[in-house]
């Protein structure tokens, strides 16, 4: 395989080839998907879990947030709108990009998962519109989207990703696919987090909880996308030795490192007037985040090892999201006492 040779957009149906694909790119694949006969069986579990996440913006009643909106400070409102339009802009890129990748991936199960991811990104995109429509008139929304497009910091930050995505669209080579995937980790796994921090910070003060509920759904989806894309990259490298080079490992470190620097810059800009978020601490948080991404890719930490400095940035619990649980443990009445230090038991 030549890493700089464009991949062929694959035929819909190749009856002579096996259903169980022989590779995620350049593989033999009939194009028919039987989930019971796939090369990476763990993908079925992931597919089902992703589907189980299904949610839609309209299910969340924005009434409480609408009432609180007028009571936010001018700064909070301004940052809220900037973050919202910025996140919406990023998500807008992701739906068509995932579809683009689907054309060249030769494993039908991966195509199916990419289709689900693409659908979820469409839902995320819509949820930002839904939040905006509840809070400000269309003229204000348009103004904000235009500002997001023109903001030099935003432009600089997005350029890294745009370049990698566009070069794959222009010339869909295996190398460009690899670079696209790494930047997809940047987009889904790093660029959202200053925004998440802002919304969860409001939530800590009991502000705009409906918005944060949506953010929670989005974060959960995004975490699973980053998990999938990490697996995608690892499989891509292990199946294609020509891609599995020191230069490409270096590319991962460089590119995620760059994204972290850009995210720090954006965070300094957007969070500087927000009381209660220390910028230095947030920088450490971003480095902690990047280390997690490296380890998900099977690499070593790049930044110093540290505990999560901002443990409050996480997906809401079920109780907060009003989700009804129906799991293995609810079916039978399993009522074990929760073991903790109060029973004299400490975890390591």
């Amino acid at each position: 395989m030549k890493v700089d040779q464009p991949l062929q957009s694959i035929k819909l149906l190749n009856p002579a080839q096996p259903n169980k694909s022989t590779g995620i790119i350049n593989g033999q694949s009939s194009g028919i998907l039987n989930w019971n006969d796939i090369s990476h069986p763990q993908m079925y579990e992931l597919y089902q879990t992703l589907l189980g996440n299904f949610w839609k913006a309209q299910e969340i009643n924005m009434q409480d947030d609408v009432k609180q909106w007028d009571r936010l400070s001018d700064t909070e409102r301004d940052i809220f709108l900037r973050v919202n339009t910025q996140l919406a802009s990023l998500d807008s890129l992701q739906t068509p990009t995932m579809t683009e990748v689907m054309h060249y991936v030769t494993d039908s199960s991966f195509k199916a998962i990419l289709a689900v991811i693409s659908q979820q990104e469409a839902v995320h995109n819509e949820s930002y519109s839904y939040i905006l429509s509840s809070l400000v008139p269309l003229s204000e929304q348009n103004k904000r989207f235009n500002e997001a497009k023109e903001d030099p910091i935003v432009q600089k930050r997005n350029q890294l990703i745009l370049d990698a995505y566009q070069q794959f669209i222009d010339r869909p080579t295996p190398q460009h696919l690899f670079e696209l995937a790494v930047n997809s980790i940047n987009l889904e796994g790093i660029y959202f987090y200053s925004g998440f921090a802002f919304f969860y910070h409001l939530a800590r003060q009991q502000k705009m909880l409906k918005t944060s509920t949506m953010i929670s759904y989005i974060q959960r989806d995004e975490m699973q996308h980053a998990y999938f894309i990490s697996q995608f990259i690892r499989i891509l490298l292990s199946e294609n030795k020509e891609l599995n080079t020191e230069a490409n490992i270096e590319y991962i470190y460089q590119t995620i490192g760059k994204a972290i620097e850009l995210e720090k810059e954006w965070a300094d800009h957007i969070l500087k007037d927000i009381d209660g978020i220390e910028l230095d601490e947030f920088h450490n948080y971003l480095e902690y985040l990047a280390n997690k991404r490296f380890r998900q890719l099977g690499l070593d930490n790049y930044y110093p090892e540290r505990d999560n400095p901002m443990a409050w940035i996480h997906v809401f619990s079920d109780e907060m999201m009003n989700e009804t649980k129906s799991d293995f443990f609810e079916q039978k009445s399993r009522t074990y006492t929760k073991v903790s230090s109060s029973n004299g038991f400490d975890e390591l």
């Binding site: 879990t49 999560n308 997906v315 809401f316 799991d327 975890e347």
Partner: protein
């Protein structure tokens, strides 16, 4: 005396921890290291020490492949079996290593639970440093 480590791992993180524990434990005691797929439930009672390793899935839940083991211990284990549970997870989920907690609460009641251990994704240096402590607690004579 014999120990067994049974684990499940999709992306390799829990397996890394399992291997580190194995390497430490095997210098003290005869130890089997096994993926849940190869584990024969009826052999549980052959062991004096039984260690479970699991990642967390869904919403703080057990991975599907660990549910039968959970049920088996729940119904067949005895209070003298010395157990431990470890796992890997991601702190961005509301229930970090929820599967470890699920096992912990049941093992505490049904067996002689010695120690639990949670790791975020693949182990880092501070986690490796805890492995000898994990093994020591596991092997320590219980004072009850």
């Amino acid at each position: 005396m014999k120990a067994c480590i049974v684990y499940t791992s999709t992306t390799g993180n829990t397996e890394e921890v399992a291997t580190a524990i194995y390497n430490q434990l095997v210098s003290h005691i005869d130890t089997d290291l096994m993926s849940i797929d190869n584990f024969e439930f009826s052999t549980i009672n052959m062991y004096d020490y039984f260690i479970i390793g699991t990642y967390t899935w869904g919403n703080g839940q057990l991975p599907t492949e660990m549910k039968a083991l959970y049920q088996r211990i729940e119904t067949h284990a005895n209070k003298h079996l010395r157990t431990a549970v470890f796992g890997t997870g991601d702190r961005f989920y509301p229930l970090f290593c929820g599967a470890v907690d699920r096992f912990r609460d049941m093992l505490y009641e049904k067996t002689d639970l010695a120690v639990t251990f949670k790791v975020e994704l693949s182990p880092q240096q501070t986690d490796y440093n805890k492995v000898p402590i994990f093994v020591d607690r596991m092997l320590a004579v219980q004072v009850s």
